[in-house]
């Protein structure tokens, strides 16, 4: 970490990099934003933004389970519940008993309400309300290392599984005709989203995690003309939003997560107008 700190001091000799907590936050943003930019592309492409939102809400119940179990780090209880929750949603959706948005809505409300009830019953909800908006300024060196590992794993999955995910998202029957195990492929993606959301929720916050996942990819879609430009733009927009939002929050004295999301929202509207009036997507690569 010392090497990284001195590197930041050397390359970015500004007020906002003077403090170690800002250096940590900066490093965390450099890891979280490409992760969200990358995974967001398929979340938006597969119309799963409501699903990832529900996963964020379920984290509250995961924290409550951790509190009940008496553990200090809620990561594993959140991860366990999130995976169970995600696979349950997937199984109920697969049964075809109701429309997917209704099913996700039911699970999302249940996950949130159960978390609120359990936490308020175990000694006050206020203690855990920090999870609602997150605080990237509290990220530690070990947590940054964990984020780096998750980013690396996601990049590897994106290299080896992406083509299958893309074809399955395009049309499951078409993917099945190419002997792609559609159910397994879809579940693997759900697990990736669940792990990613859980790992980052402490710093990004339950209320805005989905915005950070969806906005960069949605912005990129406005102007992208191929899968390559879609991914490149999504990661770029995510990183620009993250770094700009973090710096702005330092000087404005605002919450980092919210400022990052607002920056991403501004970029969305700019790309929306550029796509609408610039005719992006109608021309060739």
């Amino acid at each position: 970490m010392d090497f990284l700190y001195s590197l930041i001091d050397m390359l970015l000799p500004f007020d906002w990099t003077e403090f170690d907590f800002m250096k940590n936050a900066f490093l965390a943003v450099l890891l979280i934003t490409p992760l969200f930019g990358l995974v967001g592309t398929m979340v938006v492409n597969n119309r799963m933004s409501f699903f990832s939102d529900a996963l964020g809400h379920s984290a509250l119940t995961g924290i409550a389970i951790g509190v009940l179990m008496g553990v200090d780090d809620y990561l594993f209880s959140m991860m366990g519940f999130s995976l169970l929750f995600a696979l349950c949603i997937s199984a109920v959706m697969g049964s075809g008993v109701s429309s997917s948005d209704t099913i996700i809505g039911v699970f999302s409300s249940t996950g949130l309400a159960l978390g609120v009830v359990l936490l308020s019953a175990t000694g006050g909800f206020a203690k855990y309300s920090a999870y609602l908006i997150g605080d990237i300024l509290t990220v530690t060196g070990n947590e940054i290392a964990l984020l780096a590992v998750v980013l690396l794993l996601v990049i590897l999955l994106w290299i080896f599984v992406f083509n299958r995910w893309m074809l399955t998202g395009l049309n499951p029957d078409l993917a099945a005709s190419k002997r792609i195990p559609v159910g397994l492929t879809e579940k693997l993606f759900i697990i990736v989203v669940a792990v990613m959301v859980t790992v980052s929720i402490k710093w990004v916050g339950i209320l805005i995690i989905n915005s950070l996942l969806v906005l960069p990819a949605a912005s990129a879609r406005n102007i992208a003309r191929s899968m390559r430009s879609y991914h490149f733009l999504s990661v770029l927009i995510s990183m620009i939003s993250g770094v700009t939002g973090l710096i702005l929050s330092y000087y404005l004295g605002t919450a980092a997560g919210g400022t990052i999301v607002l920056t991403a929202a501004v970029i969305f509207f700019v790309t929306f107008l550029a796509g609408r009036f610039g005719g992006a997507g109608k021309r060739s690569l």
């Binding site: 492409n45 290299i159 083509n163 893309m166 029957d173 190419k178």
Partner: protein, 284 residues
């Protein structure tokens, strides 16, 4: 009703052999290329005792169907007869009882058949930035398309498009910006790589105009003559079935009638099912 192909009988190492000799005037109903060298090709797809049960009861009941070398087998039937369910079962998307087996040109069983599938109206997000090149290259290579396309994959994708009579310019277009005819050609190109053991066409021309439809079926017929793979076509357009299919099967939960396309289409049962005027009293 099945028309038998001419076979030349002989003996090889004491074993009786039957060899089909294709060529000009061979009269073969399934292989129309003069001078074709395929010898007694046995590639086929056979469905035995296939049944599908859902919550609301039996959807398909003991289906028996065989599609052989170079045949275009049309599945016709009223809405709700089970055509789409049969396709989903063949694609392995729904559970079924019974068996579906494939054999190669030597008559050997194929454990993992390659299926080329051209869906009805491809239900997909038309605002997605997925290009035709992304789709074709994702099928051609393991190289992740989000990192771009390898030159050899792009060249192969272009060759695939040319095989189905489409321009390589389509590669750069987003799928949502393709016309109905262009999209069906891209889907057909996608279906033909790797060369399938069965080509499955589900109402493939429903989004196309009359001229596009004719061109598409001419293309499928020529591919069938060139590559000889069995083709299963689901269509509600009886005129096209009569014109382009070699065989036809009338489905209503089970196969009610099967045979040469023109004979099935002339049957009273088909006339009755589709309410066709002037065909009553045809053969059953």
């Amino acid at each position: 009703m099945q028309k038998r192909e001419p076979l030349q009988q002989g003996k090889e190492n004491g074993v009786e052999t039957k060899t089909h000799i294709h060529g000009p005037g061979c009269g073969c109903s399934t292989c129309e290329i003069a001078g074709c060298n395929c010898v007694d090709c046995k590639c086929s797809m056979e469905i035995r005792d296939l049944s599908v049960r859902k919550k609301d009861g039996l959807i398909l009941d003991k289906i028996h169907l065989k599609v052989t070398h170079g045949e275009i087998m049309a599945i016709i039937g009223r809405n709700g007869a089970g055509k789409s369910t049969l396709l989903k079962a063949i694609l392995g998307r729904i559970p079924y009882t019974g068996s579906i087996s494939y054999t190669n040109h030597k008559g050997e069983s194929i454990q993992r058949p390659k299926i080329g599938y051209v869906p009805q109206n491809l239900v997909f997000d038309r605002t997605s930035p997925t290009t035709a090149a992304d789709m074709l290259c994702a099928n051609l290579s393991r190289f992740p398309v989000w990192l771009g396309h390898r030159k050899e994959s792009l060249e192969k994708a272009e060759a695939l498009l040319k095989r189905v009579g489409a321009s390589g310019d389509l590669l750069k277009k987003r799928l949502g910006n393709l016309s109905g005819g262009e999209l069906q050609r891209v889907l057909l190109a996608f279906a033909l790589e790797p060369m399938p053991d069965l080509l499955l066409l589900d109402e493939p021309v429903s989004a196309m105009d009359r001229q596009g439809t004719e061109v598409f079926y001419d293309l499928v017929s020529s591919l069938r003559r060139q590559y000889h793979m069995p083709v299963l076509l689901v269509s509600h357009d009886l005129a096209h079935v009569e014109q382009f299919a070699t065989r036809a099967a009338l489905l209503d939960k089970t196969i009610l009638l099967e045979g040469e396309a023109h004979e099935v289409m002339a049957s009273a049962l088909v006339a009755e099912t589709f309410g066709l005027p002037g065909r009553k009293g045809g053969k059953n």
